[in-house]
C-alpha cells in the first residue's frame, strides 16, 4: 500500500511539473529544457529553509515558489526578447548552470551528497511523514494547481498564450505585448515548479543534484509529450505513465549498471515516436 501511495505522490508532484511544462511548451510554444533546474531551485530553497533556518513549511514553500518565479522571470526577460533559438541555448545554459551550482556550492546545497533530513511538515494535525497523510497534502496541492491551470487556460491570458504559439507577429500586430505574455507564462510555470520542489524535498527527506539535471528536464518534456499538451488530463496521464515506467522496465532483466541509461533511452524513444506518430500525445491536442 505504501508503495502504491509513493507512486501516487510522486506522480502528483510530477503532475505539478507537467502542468508547468505543458503551459510553457504546449500552450505557449516555448522550448524549455530547464524546468528540472527550476524544480531543483524550488526543492533546495524550501528544504534549506526548513532544515537550517527552521522556517515553517507553509512559509518555506511559498518562498520557494517566489524564488522560482523570480528566477524564471530573470531568465525569460533577456532571452525571450529575441528569436526562439536564443532561448533554446539559454534554456540549456540555465539547466547546466543550475546543475553546476547544485553540485559545487557545497556549503549551501551539500554538493553531490545532497541534503538530508528534510522534515515533513505537520499540516492541520496531519503528520505527513506518513504517506497516507502526505498524499492528502500532495493531492490538495495538485487540485489547487489544476484549478489555477484551468482558470489561466480559459482566460484572456490563455488565449494570448495560444495566439503567441501560433503567430507572434500577428499578436504584436493585434496590439498585444508578446514578451510580457511569455514572461508571465514563465512566472506562472515557476510558481508551480517551486511548490513541486518543496513537496519533493519534504516527501523524500533527501535531495541531490541528480533529480534536477538535464535528464530530469528530458523526463519532463517526455511526460508532457506522452500525456499530451494543452489539456489538464495530459499533465496527469503523462506522469502516471512515466513514473510507472521504471516498474514496467523492471520486468525486463536489465543489469543495474545500465538501468539508468536504459530508462533514459526509453524517454528518448518515446519522444521520437510520439513526435513522429502521435504529436497529440495520449490525451492532448496536436503539438
Amino acid at each position: 500500500m505504501d508503495f502504491f501511495l509513493s507512486y501516487i505522490i510522486l506522480a502528483e508532484i510530477y503532475a505539478l511539473l507537467a502542468l508547468s511544462t505543458n503551459l510553457l511548451v504546449g500552450v505557449t510554444g516555448i522550448f524549455s529544457v530547464s524546468q528540472a533546474a527550476v524544480f531543483g531551485v524550488g526543492a533546495y530553497t524550501c528544504s534549506i529553509l526548513t532544515t537550517t533556518a527552521d522556517v515553517p513549511f507553509g512559509l518555506a514553500i511559498l518562498a520557494a515558489a517566489a524564488v522560482c518565479v523570480v528566477v524564471n522571470v530573470l531568465v525569460a526577460l533577456p532571452s525571450l526578447r529575441v528569436s526562439g533559438d536564443y532561448f533554446v541555448v539559454t534554456s540549456f545554459g540555465i539547466q547546466f548552470l543550475c546543475t553546476a551550482i547544485f553540485e559545487n556550492w557545497v556549503g549551501i546545497t551539500g554538493g553531490s551528497s545532497g541534503l538530508t533530513g528534510i522534515p515533513a511538515p505537520e499540516v492541520f494535525g496531519f503528520h505527513t511523514e506518513e504517506p497516507t497523510h502526505f498524499v492528502l497534502m500532495s493531492s490538495a496541492a495538485l487540485a489547487i494547481a489544476c484549478v489555477c491551470f484551468h482558470l489561466a487556460l480559459h482566460s484572456p491570458f490563455g488565449r494570448l498564450l495560444a495566439a503567441i504559439r501560433q503567430d507572434e507577429l500577428a499578436v504584436a500586430a493585434a496590439g498585444q505585448n508578446v514578451l510580457r505574455g511569455k514572461v508571465n507564462a514563465a512566472a506562472l510555470a515557476g510558481a508551480f515548479n517551486g511548490v513541486a520542489g518543496g513537496l519533493y524535498g519534504a516527501f523524500l527527506s533527501f535531495i541531490d543534484p541528480y533529480s534536477f539535471d538535464m535528464q530530469g528536464s528530458i523526463l519532463l518534456v517526455s511526460m508532457v509529450v506522452v500525456g499530451g499538451v494543452r489539456t489538464m488530463a495530459g499533465s496527469i496521464v503523462g506522469p502516471l505513465f512515466l513514473i510507472g515506467l521504471p516498474q514496467l522496465l523492471a520486468f525486463i532483466d536489465i543489469p543495474s549498471s545500465v538501468a539508468g541509461p536504459v530508462r533514459q533511452l526509453t524517454y528518448g524513444v518515446l519522444l521520437v515516436v510520439f513526435m513522429m506518430f502521435r504529436p497529440g500525445g495520449l490525451v492532448g491536442r496536436r503539438l
Binding site: R81, D85, V89, F92, A100, L169, V258, G260, L265, M275
Partner: protein, 287 residues
C-alpha cells in the same frame, strides 16, 4: 608564464571549439533548425573511433571510418526523422523535441553500451612536444590548430567556389525559391547534414584523446559552440570560428581568477550580456 600558457591553450581549444561551431553553423544556417542531436553525433564519433582503434585499426583509418559513420548518421537523421516531420508540417518545436529525443537515444545508448564513465583513449600521435619560445606545445595541440584552420578553409572554399556551396547558400536564403529553381533543396540539405556530421567527428576524437569525454558531454560543447555561432551573427563561418577562439581564450584566461568548474559561467554571462545589448530585436528580420 601562466598568461602565455593559458593564451595558447585557449587558442588551441578555440580551434577545436571552432571546428564544432563551423559544423553546426553549416547545418543551422541552411536549415534554421537547432539540431541538438548534433551533440550526439559528436559524442558517438569519438566512441566509434575508440572502438575502431580497439579493433586494431591504425589511428587515421579509425578516424576516417568514424567520420564516415557520423556522416551516415547525420544524413539519416535528416532523411528519416526531420524530413518526414517537416513534410507533415510539424512546427519547429516538434522537430526540436524529436531532435532532443534522438540525442537522448544516442547518449544513453553509448552510456549503456560503453558505460557512463569517462572515455580517454591514448593518442596514437605520441606525446611529442614542440617549443614555441618558452612554451611547450604538444603534438595534439598542433593537430588541433591544423584541424581548425583546415576546417575553416574547407568550408569557406566549399561555400564560395563549389556548385554545392552555391546551392547551399541558395537554399539557406530561401528554400522555397530554391525548390522552384529546381535546386533540389532536400538533397542539398542532406549533404549539409552529411558534411557537418563528418566534420564534427574530428574535434570529438581530439577531445576524447586529450581531455576525455563522457556520453553526456557533447551537449555542453555544442552549447559553447552555438553561443559563438549566435554571437557572430548566424551564418558567418568566419565569425563563428574566430569567436570560438575568442570565447575559448576568455574561458581559459578566466582560470586565472575562477575555479575550473565555473568557466562555463563566463561564456554564459557573456551570452546574457550579448542578448541584453544586441541592438536588433524579435522582428528585425520580418519581411
Amino acid at each position: 608564464m601562466l598568461f602565455l600558457r593559458l593564451l595558447i591553450d585557449g587558442i588551441v581549444n578555440g580551434c577545436v571549439l571552432g571546428t564544432i561551431a563551423l559544423s553546426f553553423t553549416l547545418i543551422y544556417s541552411t536549415t534554421r533548425l537547432f539540431h541538438v542531436a548534433h551533440a550526439g553525433v559528436f559524442t558517438l564519433g569519438a566512441y566509434l573511433v575508440w572502438t575502431f582503434l580497439g579493433l586494431g585499426l591504425p589511428g587515421p583509418v579509425a578516424v576516417v571510418l568514424g567520420a564516415l559513420c557520423c556522416m551516415a548518421l547525420g544524413a539519416a537523421t535528416q532523411q528519416f526523422l526531420y524530413t518526414p516531420l517537416i513534410e507533415r508540417r510539424a512546427s519547429p518545436l516538434v522537430v526540436m523535441i524529436a531532435s532532443l529525443g534522438l540525442l537522448a537515444i544516442i547518449e544513453n545508448a553509448i552510456a549503456a553500451i560503453y558505460t557512463p564513465n569517462i572515455l580517454l583513449f591514448p593518442p596514437w600521435w605520441g606525446k611529442d612536444i614542440v617549443q614555441l619560445g618558452s612554451v611547450p606545445i604538444t603534438y595534439a595541440q598542433l593537430l588541433s590548430l591544423a584541424m581548425g584552420l583546415l576546417a575553416y578553409v574547407f568550408l569557406m572554399g566549399l561555400a564560395r567556389f563549389t556548385l554545392l556551396g552555391k546551392r547551399i547558400r541558395a537554399v539557406a536564403s530561401n528554400a522555397f525559391l530554391a525548390e522552384i529553381r529546381q535546386l533540389d533543396p532536400k538533397r542539398v540539405t542532406i549533404w549539409v547534414y552529411a558534411i557537418g556530421s563528418l566534420l564534427v567527428c574530428l574535434p570529438s576524437s581530439l577531445i576524447a584523446a586529450e581531455f576525455g569525454l563522457r556520453p553526456y558531454s557533447g551537449l555542453l560543447y555544442l552549447l559553447d559552440a552555438s553561443i559563438a555561432m549566435i554571437a557572430s551573427g548566424l551564418g558567418s563561418f568566419t565569425g563563428a570560428f574566430f569567436l570560438s577562439i575568442l570565447l575559448a581564450v576568455l574561458q581559459n584566461l578566466s582560470l586565472m581568477v575562477l575555479p575550473g568548474q565555473w568557466s562555463i559561467g563566463v561564456t554564459f554571462f557573456l551570452f546574457v550580456f550579448l542578448m541584453l545589448f544586441r541592438p536588433y530585436g524579435l522582428f528585425a528580420h520580418a519581411r
